[in-house]
């Protein structure tokens, strides 16, 4: 079991629209952290039976996970895949928290003044990689790189464990997306945050 001594404690809310992308990417992170020996809590909020409703997930990694509430009163980081359903999560962002936004759809102007954010155009990236569905994987891998919370290899292993048998044909392209997103995240942290 890989133990990364320097990996940080963090909490995160991922916001998007259903389908299952938000849930898959969040579970991938949560699984990866668990495999690396961390304490983890993950809870989900999926609204409505139809696509287009809200899909949110909370992930807590580290010492706070055991006592963490499944509905986080405050959170240190957000991933926004769209602007929709983001108002309540943004209101819970702690002072000093930050946002990783899908810059294809979410600009810095869409966030409250003074919000620290980084942007990755994950939908554009996913299209360039050949499948729009991997946008969430790109995003979560970028997040993992920026925070250094889990390794890219752990993400790939987690993804492989989560992909159902009838989707095995996507494992390779998913893995490419993860490595690409992780590299994008590493590039982001080389630049100063606005």
């Amino acid at each position: 079991m890989e133990q990364r001594r320097q990996a940080p404690d963090l909490d995160l809310v991922v916001v998007g629209i259903g389908g299952q992308g938000v849930q898959l990417m969040s579970k991938m992170l949560a699984q990866a952290a668990t495999a690396e020996g961390r304490d983890v809590l993950m809870s989900s909020e999926i609204g409505g039976e139809m696509r287009g409703g809200p899909s949110l997930a909370s992930v807590v990694i580290g010492r706070r996970a055991r006592r963490a509430l499944p509905i986080l009163p405050s959170v240190g980081s957000l991933i926004l895949m769209t602007t929709e359903y983001s108002a309540d999560p943004l209101s819970r962002l702690r002072h000093g928290g930050w946002v990783l936004r899908n810059s294809t759809l979410v600009s810095d102007d869409d966030l409250p003044d003074g919000t620290t954010s980084l942007g990755v155009p994950v939908i554009d990236v996913a299209r360039q990689l050949g499948s729009p569905q991997v946008a969430g994987l790109v995003m979560m891998s970028a997040y993992a790189a920026v925070t250094d919370v889990v390794s890219a290899d752990s993400l790939v292993a987690a993804m492989e464990g989560l992909v159902p048998p009838y989707r095995r044909q996507h494992v390779e392209s998913n893995a490419r997306a993860i490595h690409h997103g992780h590299e994008l995240g590493r590039q982001l942290t080389k630049e100063p945050v606005a």
Binding site: K27, L41, G47, A65
Partner: protein
């Protein structure tokens, strides 16, 4: 993820229903019958996958009544059996639960509630006769794994149906947990099992709530049987089986009483309020029956106020009023709150809202030390 007969020490990220299913199998559960209803459904699904791997049986019954009676039959024949639903399904099972209590059939019944509406159902019972039901409420997945195993032991040890009260947060939240088998003391001999070993002897065993026995082997009859069962539950209540968690109660002048997932929210608020100088603590019953009455009396001695927070119209409230040291100090600060879809907790179960309900009753704090 394969089930094993001894559980898995390795920590894995599991949703609550999955962890509970694995804990049940690790505790020896080999028969499960149930009918789907959210948020219980995935527990049934996980059992359907895990039980065949260990030579057990899982049946998707045609109704909750069918499921609980199948479990009764399997248990009477000696299997560690279980069933479950949410409160609406438990409502259909009440007769069978009463029968199991009165005819001494062990069974674990999972109520994965949609909110906290079923405290009265669990502790007062909706069946018939003089019986009680051991009922436990975990606050999270990790505790659910422990309590599930304890309940299988208690069911067989006391030959009775027992309840685990979860909710949709326990059912659906993922936590990194291990599901290793817990160890228990030796059980009484299983001479009650309908295993056919007495067949043809004239003294074959019976499971009969009326306990009239046979012409050549009369039983105690309903009067004898029901007196004995009532005495059994009175003995269980007095036995020290009750459990609770005491959190930051040492010098508390405000005691908040809460159970299940919501108690975790209260603990979070207690920490905030303590940082602000309030002397507030949490008393969390873990067994809803037997209710930890003597411990609550002790914990509330000298408290200026006892605030009951639960997400219902006030059910555990009744037991707090019975047992608190000063009944007049008890205030209800919870309430009904259900998500618009009808299946999840509503907006009240959020730390800032829980805090509001508690703060309303607090005096101005002394300056922090």
């Amino acid at each position: 993820m394969t089930a094993t007969t001894t559980g898995s020490p390795q920590r894995r990220l599991l949703e609550g229903n999955h962890a509970i299913a694995e804990a049940a199998v690790a505790a020896g559960c080999r028969f499960f019958a149930g009918y789907p209803m959210s948020p219980f459904t995935s527990l049934l699904e996980h059992m359907s996958r895990l039980l065949p791997e260990v030579g057990g049986t899982c049946i998707n019954a045609e109704s909750e009544i069918e499921g609980v009676n199948m479990a009764l039959g399997a248990a009477a024949a000696g299997a560690r059996a279980a069933t479950g639903s949410c409160g609406q399904g438990l409502a259909l099972m009440q007769e069978a639960i009463a029968e199991m209590a009165l005819n001494e059939t062990p069974c674990v019944v999972f109520n994965m509630m949609r909110g906290q509406q079923d405290y009265h159902q669990a502790t007062r019972g909706g069946g018939w006769g003089d019986y009680r039901t051991i009922a436990m409420a975990p606050k999270d997945v990790a505790e659910a794994v422990e309590l599930t195993q304890d309940l299988f032991d208690l069911a067989e040890r006391h030959r009775a149906p027992v309840l685990l009260l979860g909710d949709h947060l326990v059912a659906e939240t993922h936590e990194a947990v291990s599901t290793t088998s817990r160890e228990y003391e030796e059980l009484p001999p299983r001479d009650w099992v309908l295993d056919g070993s007495s067949s043809g002897t004239g003294r074959s065993r019976q499971v009969w709530t009326w306990a009239m026995g046979k012409a050549n082997d009369p039983g105690p009859g309903p009067d004898g049987q029901w007196r004995r069962i009532a005495a059994k539950f009175a003995e269980i209540e007095a036995s020290g089986l009750a459990r609770h968690e005491a959190y930051r109660l040492e010098d508390a002048d405000t005691v908040v009483v809460a159970w299940g997932s919501p108690a975790k929210f209260v603990a979070h608020v207690v920490d905030e309020l303590r940082d602000e100088g309030h002397r507030v603590g949490l008393f969390r019953p873990i067994t809803l029956w037997p209710f930890p009455g003597p411990a609550l009396r002790e914990a509330t001695r000298g408290a200026a106020r006892v605030l009951v927070f639960e997400v219902n119209a006030g059910q555990m409230l009744d037991d707090v009023r019975i047992h608190a040291d000063d009944r007049d100090a008890v205030e209800f600060v919870g309430g009904v709150s259900i998500h618009e879809g009808g299946m999840n907790f509503g907006p009240l179960l959020d730390a800032p809202r829980v805090r509001e309900r508690i703060v309303e009753h607090l005096p101005t704090p002394a300056a922090p030390a």
